[in-house]
């Protein structure tokens, strides 16, 4: 097994532990955050704020320490705001609000055996494959995540 595979397994494990600590694997917490007109729970702001602060800070530190060699490892910063960005994100939000699951917590919930997670992930895979049929010209990897 290559070092990269071990590192990405560790990254996935750490990511999942973070999701669990943050309460993101509990659908009611997510729905509570989205319930602006009901019993709003602001906790997700702390989750996103903590994640953004640490990720942005660490990336800045690493880029500064390693200089140009690592800087080019940064994925291209795609700032294109187009119809597919907005329409796709809007569709995602509807599914997120209906279920309280976004992709990370749903996949982590496969491991915890939460009822509903398997059905959701199977449907999500179908949706991903359907999107691939609709826009086969689009970049199909993480570089598409702007």
């Amino acid at each position: 097994m290559s070092g990269r595979v071990i590192a990405t397994f560790a990254a996935g494990g750490l990511f999942g532990v973070g999701l669990v600590i943050a309460g993101m694997t509990e659908p009611r917490n997510v729905i509570g955050f989205l319930d602006f007109f009901g019993h709003w729970q602001p906790r997700l702001i702390a989750v996103m704020g903590g994640a953004v602060a640490v990720h942005a800070g660490l990336v800045a530190l690493i880029v500064r320490a390693a200089g140009a060699r690592t800087a080019r490892l940064l994925p291209p910063r795609n700032n294109r705001i187009d119809r597919s960005l907005v329409v796709g994100s809007a569709i995602f939000g509807v599914g997120w609000g209906l279920s309280g699951y976004c992709p990370g917590p749903a996949i982590a919930s496969l491991g915890s055996g939460a009822r509903g997670a398997f059905v959701f992930v199977a449907a999500m895979i179908a949706g991903i494959l359907a999107a691939g049929l609709v826009r086969s010209r689009a970049p199909g990897c993480e570089t598409a995540a702007r």
Binding site: H39, L85, G88
Partner: protein, 137 residues
């Protein structure tokens, strides 16, 4: 709030580790999509997904079985398709846009994040009042 901040910090560190190891953005929808559709670097992506599942398993072992998703199965199927389809058309999800993109100061990711929070909130408002679904009180 404190557990949210701590969990978020761990997520941020994990996203950094994935980026350092691969040079790619740690967007979960993108990783899953690429693992399904692209032969190159498939093992790295599958390993990340396996790590996520292992974390869920660990959580269940430490703090007991996870609570079920209370959304009705037909709605859950629809929601899953919408999440899979929407994140691919929109180029990212809560991790790729909401954490990584926003961290890099991407205006597109900020627009995407604001959009999915807005439609998510509208959906919860409608679902909790009209359908009585979605688990909201």
């Amino acid at each position: 709030m404190l557990s949210g901040l701590l969990g978020g910090a761990v997520i941020g560190a994990a996203a950094t580790l994935y980026w350092v190891a691969t040079g790619r953005t740690a967007g979960v929808s993108g990783i899953l999509s690429a693992a399904l559709r692209e032969p190159q670097a498939r093992n790295e992506r599958l390993a990340f997904l396996a790590g996520l599942i292992a974390a869920g398993l660990l959580a269940a072992l430490v703090s007991g079985p996870a609570s079920a998703n209370t959304t009705a199965t037909p709605l859950l199927l629809v929601a899953g398709v919408l999440v899979g389809f929407g994140t691919r058309v929109g180029g990212g999800c809560t991790s790729g846009h909401g954490v990584c993109g926003v961290s890099r100061g991407s205006l597109a990711s900020l627009v995407a994040t604001a959009t999915f929070i807005a439609t998510g909130a509208a959906t919860v408002a409608i679902a909790s009042r009209i359908l009585g679904a979605g688990g909201a009180p």
